[in-house]
Symmetry: C2
Subunit: 213 residues, 2 copies
Amino acid sequence: MLSPLKLQDAPSTTAPFGFTGPCLRHSRDEEIFGEGEAAEYVYQVISGAVRTSRILRDGRRQIDEFHFAGDYFGIEAGDLHRVTAEAMTDTSVRMVRRGTLSELAGQRGDVARAIFRLTVEGLQRSQDHVLMLGRKSACERVAGLLVDLAERTGASRELDVPMSRQDMADYLGLTIETVSRTLTQLQADGIIAIPTTRHIVLRDPAALRRLHG
Amino acid sequence: MLSPLKLQDAPSTTAPFGFTGPCLRHSRDEEIFGEGEAAEYVYQVISGAVRTSRILRDGRRQIDEFHFAGDYFGIEAGDLHRVTAEAMTDTSVRMVRRGTLSELAGQRGDVARAIFRLTVEGLQRSQDHVLMLGRKSACERVAGLLVDLAERTGASRELDVPMSRQDMADYLGLTIETVSRTLTQLQADGIIAIPTTRHIVLRDPAALRRLHG
DNA sequence: CGTGAGTTTGAAGGGAATCAAGACTAGTGG
DNA sequence: CCACTAGTCTTGATTCCCTTCAAACTCACG
């Protein structure tokens, strides 16, 4: 389900929201912005993958979203970032100054609508996440992530997994061991194959979707 | 943390978004709209309390948000509602036709900004919810709900709980038994008192906030 | 090849779920 | 007004899924 903005956006040449901003490269695990920092920019992933997360005082981490090419992140209601954003792979990210974006939205109705739509879609993704964390088993969660990854990265069966097992666990509200065991079990059931850690083949996507619920 | 819109909104006289729409009453447990129905309206709670939820095929339910006076709900990116909305108590709700609202937003920048802000705040609440469901213990979740309820309903210590234990459980991703046990434990610890089921006294809000993490 | 981070696998433990009564509470009607 | 009743809530006993703790393995990378 691509948004209008994504469609009109040829990643490396056209700017997000029809506006050209600087484009920064980040290497793997580099922080793009941190929780509590001033939210001066809004970001769009040009290539690569980004995670946004929050950490409790005792170190427990929850990833609230993965962001792929075309996705945007870093929008805040207040002045500060409430999450930390980090590159999961080598990543290219375009930055748009917040004030510039809201000005542009004020002038162009289509831009305002597009931004609003993306935000509502983000909200709905978050609600899906809530349903998963609140009411689904480990197996259903892992299956759901795989299906989601396939859809969002445009892969049909061959999945390039951009995140570590720890990232998966912190997104799914599980431990790394449970994620690993569940993947192994799915492989034993013939539903997926795991040729390498970062490469998963969906042998039976329909079964995965059924598990996903 | 009240939004600008809420502040300028004297619940029973002024309309949401500076616009007057019809105002409907719903009695307890009545459905306001259902998952899968056409999303023709956006709603604002005038008085009472509303829950929005989703149900899996096998009956598991997840409440994704409680809505109180001033809050709005029912915004969708697509044409259909993705959640079901029900009145938790006798409730008065104002309806604004979706097209009307987007027209108004197109004409008045302040309205567009206010709606956008409310949506981003909803997204942030959802992210808090994700963190809670993914990484917090039963005790931390219940404490968090109580603190949140107190803040949002403007109660300092005397909490009128508008929802059933089942609603609490389905919001917190727990079972009704665990919610009940946890509340009993908090009472035993002297942190809260439960004179009646729907009335909870926060005897040590600081301790609750500490548990909330 | 050696090294170490990341991952998988194994064994044991724990927190919340499930199953099952029992105690309230709020309506209802006599 | 008060017994009756259905629904809600609480409490108890047991189970189970996931976590925790621990160790072995794999595979990038120098």
